[in-house]
């Protein structure tokens, strides 16, 4: 099997500095007669067109954050799935390690058995040869 290579994952950082942030609302405080009054006496507020624009801009900002949250949720789940896959990969690697160990054990046992059988063969061959020689010698001695 070709070795599977994995790239090192980089840290993820949320950078929201790129999103334009609307400035604070500047409102005009008025009373019921639509006369500009200090904030403590105000019952209503007035917004210029420019200031009113900041409200949908803020809503758009909220929408962006919401979209980012959903995308980050997706990202987290991808990472969770990745971790689970790695766990499975490690489990299989351990199984493979056990398999190779079994293979080594089989080879080692077969080698030892072969060595034992070979030594037994040698021993019986010697026994056979020596028995023949001894019997032959005894027969000759007795015949003489």
């Amino acid at each position: 099997m070709d070795n599977i290579k994995f790239e090192k994952s980089l840290h993820y950082e949320t950078d929201i500095s790129g999103i334009t942030k609307p400035e604070k609302l500047n409102v005009i405080y008025i009373d019921n007669n639509f006369k500009e009054v200090p904030i403590k006496d105000a019952t209503q507020i007035l917004l210029s067109n420019k200031e009113y624009n900041k409200i949908p801009a803020l809503l758009r900002l909220c929408k962006a954050y919401k979209d980012i949250i959903y995308e980050q949720e997706k990202l987290v789940n991808i990472k969770v799935d990745e971790i689970n896959s790695f766990k499975e990969f490690i489990k299989l690697e351990q199984m493979k390690k056990d398999g190779y160990f079994e293979l080594w054990t089989i080879s080692e046992n077969a080698y030892r058995q072969e060595r034992y059988d070979a030594s037994m063969n040698r021993f019986t061959s010697y026994l056979y040869f020596e028995t023949i020689i001894i019997v032959f010698l005894i027969v000759i001695i007795l015949a003489l």
Binding site: M1, I4, F6, E7, S9, Y12, T14, G18, I19, T20, P22, K50, Y52, N53, I55, P56, A57, L59, R60, L61, C62, K63, A64, K66, I68, E71, L75, I78, K79, D81, E82, S85, E88, L92, E93, M95, K96, G99, Y100, E102, L103, I106, S107, N109, A110, Q113, D117, M120, N121, T124, S125, L127, Y128, T131, I132, V135, I138, V139, L142, A143
Partner: protein, 110 residues
């Protein structure tokens, strides 16, 4: 004398038969064990091959996920860019009807 010779020859014969038999037995046993170990080896190798295949699939799956996470990070950047563009556009809108429409739409979205 003849009896001794016959006895010795008999003993020699028996020793010969025994040694030949044990040699035959050893060889046979060795052959059998060899076949058995090769069979076991084949089984284990087959198992390892299956594991390798599974690992290959998982490896590709992990690589796909790495790609997906990169895409997701890029998408987040894209969301930020789009939001900035939209906010700048909204801030420069002069038509109050359009602003009101924008508020209603965005209110529904969030």
């Amino acid at each position: 004398m003849n009896t001794i010779l016959i006895g010795l020859a008999g003993a020699g014969g028996l020793a010969l038969i025994f040694t030949l038999y044990s040699q035959f037995m050893n060889g046979d046993k060795s052959k059998f064990l060899n076949i058995l170990s090769k069979f076991k080896q084949k089984e284990v190798l087959k198992e390892i091959d299956t594991i390798n295949e599974k690992q290959k699939i998982i490896g590709n799956d992990i690589k796909d996920k790495e790609k997906l996470s990169k895409e997701s990070v890029e998408k987040i950047k894209e969301i930020q860019k789009e939001a900035s563009k939209d906010i700048n556009k909204i801030l420069h809108e002069k038509n109050l009807v359009n602003i009101d429409k924008e508020i209603n739409e965005l209110w529904e979205d969030i």
